[in-house]
Each structure stands twice: as structure tokens, then as C-alpha cells.
């Protein structure tokens, strides 16, 4: 088996991996620089606090070195710091490098397996050994992921491999670790109460953090299907009563938070990025979701905000009007009529094919619904 190659201290790989190592407790903002940005003599990268600028050529060279290190790994499940460090640089350059991302999952695999078993048996998850150490490792992993997924890196923020990696980490390890399930027998009750409260708070914090990361990534890369899809899958784990993991979450309180705060946050995002079909698509999913859907009255409120936006800025874009045509099925019956009237009124003073198509769809939908209720 080959030895890990010796890396000189001035190599691009060394410089980059040092940046990652020194800032592992924080989230970096990484940018790839074009050749027009001059670097001071002898410097390979630019750094200003947590902002890092890496010239394209330097990143490519660092990747080649990192890959050479990665190739020296053995196939036993023995953790190797040098290999792990190399995977960070590999994934920064090529986020679709699946074997590197799987290598990073390995160190959580044992714990995840055990947590999975406990969840299936509906047992307390307090018994996972060294939870604090795992917690710490998980936090560092999330920092690394955030540094790539929220940076101004056009391709990386939409990486299906990295978003899946994130989902795996959160759903198989973080969520079960902080779940509070049936309490095991023979443990001190006050310990469990404390843990329960702490876990609940951690779940709420987790949800807020994940929403913030998705919003940021969605801004960095418009129409970011993978970011929004991640959020859909995550919410399903939080709320779908039929999934085994559901049992692991403190469902009641967390679900309430999702139902009340999430739609407002998403709506605000959509109104600030009204051309982004993926954002509106997510809001539509939310309104139709079996487990998450707000009440019809709440849906009315959401649609009303959208109508006000359209009026204020005379917005005729397709994404907004697609939402407006699909959402009424989840609103109250009397509001459905109001939406159609609104659409017709807009059509009077603004000609737009998106509006026309939306009205035609709504009218057909409206008459279909009336016909089926008449048939009942």
C-alpha cells in the first residue's frame, strides 16, 4: 500500500487544507477567483477573516494533490486524518466526487447504524456512546458543508451529492441523537427531563439553521432544485407520522413551529425572488403537503399576500401565476371565487400569456370542482 505523499508547505493543497483546519469551528465564505485578480508576491490565496479567495488554477492543483492522498486510503474502516483532510479539498473542487463524500460518512456509520436500530425498537437513544464527541464531530461536518453550500460558488451550491450527504448526516445521525423517545427504565427522571428540554431546543435550532442554509444556497444558485428538495425531505422526516424516524422527533412542538413559521419565511423568500420557480414550487408543495399543510384559512392569507404583491408591482411572471393557479384548491371555497375574480380583473388591464393560461386553468378547475360536487 502506497504511503501518503509528502506535501511541501508551500503547496496549494497544504495552504488550502490549513485554511480548512484553522477555521473548522467557523463557516467560511469561499470564492473562486479568475486570473485577473492579482495576488501579492508569494501568496497562493487571498484571505480576509473568514472570506477566502482561491484562484482557479491553485484550486485545480490542490485537487490533484488531494486526490493523490485520497488514493492511498486502505479499505478498512480505520479513520485517517490525512485522508479526511484531503476529502475536503476534493469536494470543494468537485462536489460530485461520491467516494470522497462516502468516506466522510464512514466515521458516523457505526453510530448511525446503532441509532437506526434503537429507533426501530422505539428505545431511548441515550445509550449511544460518547454522544458529546459525536456531537462535536457532527458540528464540524456541518460547518464544512455550510462553507461550501452557502458560499458564492455557483456549481457547488447546487450539488446533488453534497445535498444528499447533508441529508444523510442529519437524518441518520443528528436527528436520532437529539430525539427524545420513550424513556428507558432505570434512568434518573431529572436527567431525562433536562435532556428532553435540551433536545427539543436543539431540534428547533436545527430546523432554523437548515432553513437558513437552504434559503442562502437558493439565493446563490437560482432554481436550486436540490436545496429545496433537501428541505422537503427533511420536513418529511420531521412530520411524516408513518416514517420510523418520525417517532424519534419530539413531534408535537416542533411540528407546530413548522406549520406556523415556515410558510411565512418561505413566502418572504419567494416575494424577494419572484422569478424563482423552485421557491414557488416549494411553497406549493407546502400548501398541498399531507402533514404540513396549513389550514385553508391560513392558505387564504398566503394567497392574499401574493395577490397584494402582484398588484403593487404589477408582476406577471410565470412562477408567481403558476402558484396562484395551483394554490386555490387548498384555500377556502369562498376565497377560490375571489382569486378567479382577481385574475380576471388583472387580465383586463395587463395582457400577459402567463395570466391568460392561469385564468384558463383556474376556470376549468373551477367548473370541474362544481361538476363533481353536483354529481355527489
Amino acid at each position: 500500500m502506497p504511503d501518503v505523499p509528502k506535501i511541501p508547505s508551500t503547496s496549494p493543497y497544504k495552504v488550502l487544507s490549513d485554511v480548512f483546519e484553522k477555521n473548522k469551528d467557523s463557516i467560511l465564505e469561499i470564492e473562486v477567483l479568475g486570473s485577473e485578480v492579482p495576488l501579492p508576491e508569494g501568496q497562493l490565496i487571498l484571505q480576509d477573516g473568514l472570506c477566502v479567495g482561491i484562484p482557479k488554477k491553485v484550486l485545480a492543483k490542490a485537487f490533484v494533490e488531494a486526490r493523490a492522498i485520497f488514493m492511498t486510503r486502505n479499505h478498512e474502516r480505520v479513520e485517517n486524518e490525512a485522508i479526511l483532510a484531503a476529502t475536503k479539498v476534493i469536494l470543494l473542487f468537485d462536489p460530485e466526487y461520491l467516494t470522497a463524500s462516502n468516506y466522510r460518512k464512514e466515521r458516523f456509520a457505526v453510530c448511525a447504524g446503532r441509532l437506526g436500530e434503537l429507533t426501530e425498537r422505539r428505545e431511548t437513544v441515550n445509550s449511544c456512546r460518547d454522544t458529546e464527541m459525536v456531537d462535536q464531530e457532527l458540528m464540524l461536518e456541518m460547518n464544512f458543508l455550510d462553507s461550501i453550500l452557502t458560499s458564492p460558488l455557483h456549481r457547488q451550491t447546487k450539488s446533488p451529492t453534497l445535498w444528499y450527504h447533508r441529508f444523510w448526516i442529519v437524518s441518520s445521525t443528528i436527528l436520532p441523537l437529539h430525539s427524545t423517545t420513550l424513556l428507558g427504565t432505570g434512568s434518573r427522571p431529572d436527567f431525562h427531563e433536562t435532556k428532553k428540554r435540551r433536545d427539543l431546543q436543539q431540534m428547533k435550532d436545527l430546523l432554523e439553521r437548515e432553513m437558513a442554509v437552504v434559503f442562502k444556497a437558493a439565493e446563490r444558485h437560482p432554481h436550486n432544485y436540490y436545496a429545496w428538495q433537501y428541505l422537503r425531505r427533511l420536513l418529511e422526516v420531521f412530520t411524516d407520522e408513518e416514517l420510523p424516524e418520525y417517532f424519534a422527533t419530539q413531534k408535537f412542538n416542533v411540528s407546530l413551529k413548522i406549520r406556523s413559521e415556515l410558510p411565512i419565511a418561505v413566502l418572504s423568500w419567494c416575494l424577494a425572488n419572484p422569478s424563482d420557480a423552485s421557491g414557488w414550487s416549494f411553497l406549493t408543495y407546502f400548501v398541498y403537503s399531507r402533514w404540513l399543510a396549513p389550514t385553508p384559512e391560513k392558505t387564504d392569507e398566503i394567497i392574499l399576500h401574493v395577490m397584494q404583491f402582484i398588484m403593487n408591482v404589477r408582476w406577471m411572471g410565470e412562477a408567481v401565476w403558476t402558484f396562484l393557479k395551483l394554490a386555490p384548491r387548498q384555500s377556502t371555497e369562498r376565497f377560490r371565487d375571489a382569486i378567479l375574480e382577481f385574475g380576471r380583473a388583472v387580465q383586463q388591464f395587463e395582457s400577459s400569456r402567463h395570466v391568460e393560461k392561469a385564468i384558463a386553468w383556474m376556470e376549468k378547475d373551477h367548473s370541474d370542482v362544481q361538476m363533481s360536487s353536483a354529481a355527489l
Binding site: 470564492e31 479568475g34 485577473e36 485578480v37 472570506c51 473542487f93 456549481r155 425572488n273 422569478s275 408591482v313
Partner: protein, 197 residues
């Protein structure tokens, strides 16, 4: 959708002079920010110089739109936004900003001087009007804007005189660093979505 720049420029003569401006570069990354800022100033001047008194125009260039409104007093208001920001709202904001500037500074304040004229409201406006719905209050007090009067240009080059080229404007400009000039050449190569580096 974003507002990136609001400025008032003196445009009776070439080169135009920035009398006041405010930028919001937070959506740009740390090491490209300064170049973007420099380009905003250069292109604002270019557009202002070619907007006649009483005229309104929108000029699209790469991922930006330059909204311009010139007055007979010898100034032009310029707003730079992304393509998503509604043009009508941008022009309503321009009317407001230009009116307020001229109330504060009559022509005598800038006719014979190129000095900067502090206009702190710009800082408040560039933050507040990131949400175009805030412009609702402006729409209530101003008279109706005739949208059809706003001329739209698809590139900056279309407002230049025959024979003038953007590339030479960029190359000759004093206000651009060498880095920015190279940045411009690089930026012209459009990156398509999700292509391998």
C-alpha cells in the same frame, strides 16, 4: 430582486460627475466587490451622459439594468438593479430621489462646481426599497408615470454613438483599476449553469 446603486450625476457635459451615490454590494463576494463598484460608477456616467433632459430610459447590460431619468436642471438620477426589479418602481423611486435632491440643492449648488453633495437619504432608500412593495407610498403621491415613455435598450452599446465601443471606454477609463479592466474581459465569457469548471 435587488437594488445595487442609486446616484445623482451632473450630466450637462462629458464626463458626467457623480454628485452623490450609495451602493449595496453585499450580494457580491469579497474579492470582486471593488471591481463591481468601479464599473457601476463608470457605466452610470456613460448612461447619464447619454440621457437627455426630460428623458427616461432603461439600459440592460449583462445581469444589470440601468434606470435613468434626466432633468433640465442638468442632472440625471441613475438606479442600477437586477433584471427582476420592476422598472416602474425603479422610475418612481428615481422621481422621488431627483425631486428631493433638487429641493435640497438648486442648480446654483452644482452648476459651476464638481464637488460631492451629501445626500444621506440615499442610504435609507437603498435599504428600504430593496422591497419594491415599499414603493406603494411613493405611487400614492406622485402623478402617474407613463410607462410607454421609458425607452428600453438591450445593451449599453446601443446608447453609444456610432463608432464608440464599450471595450475602448473601459480601456480608457481613469476610474478603473487594472484588475477591474481585466475583470471586465473575463466577465464577458458567459458561464452557463452547471457546466464543469
Amino acid at each position: 430582486m435587488k437594488l445595487l446603486y442609486i446616484g445623482i450625476l451632473k450630466n450637462e457635459e462629458k464626463p458626467a460627475v457623480e454628485l452623490c451615490c450609495e451602493r449595496d454590494l453585499t450580494s457580491y463576494s469579497r474579492f470582486t466587490r471593488s471591481s463591481v463598484g468601479e464599473f457601476m460608477t463608470l457605466f452610470s456616467k456613460t448612461v447619464a451622459e447619454r440621457t437627455k433632459p426630460g428623458q427616461r430610459q432603461d439600459v440592460e447590460e449583462q445581469s444589470y439594468t440601468f434606470h435613468a431619468y434626466a432633468r433640465s436642471e442638468g442632472i440625471a438620477g441613475i438606479i442600477i438593479s437586477d433584471h427582476e426589479y420592476p422598472a416602474l418602481v425603479a422610475h418612481q423611486l428615481l422621481s422621488k430621489v431627483v425631486d428631493e435632491f433638487l429641493s435640497k440643492y438648486p442648480r446654483s449648488a452644482f452648476a459651476t462646481s464638481n464637488a460631492e453633495l451629501p445626500f444621506p437619504q440615499l442610504k435609507e432608500y437603498i435599504t428600504k426599497y430593496q422591497d419594491p412593495a415599499q414603493a406603494d407610498s411613493i405611487m400614492k403621491i406622485q402623478k402617474e408615470l407613463d410607462e410607454t415613455k421609458i425607452v428600453l435598450h438591450k445593451t449599453i452599446e446601443s446608447v453609444l454613438e456610432r463608432g464608440e465601443k464599450i471595450d475602448s471606454l473601459v480601456a480608457k477609463s481613469d476610474g478603473l483599476s487594472a484588475q477591474s479592466k481585466m475583470f471586465y474581459t473575463q466577465a464577458k465569457k458567459q458561464n452557463s449553469c452547471c457546466v464543469v469548471m
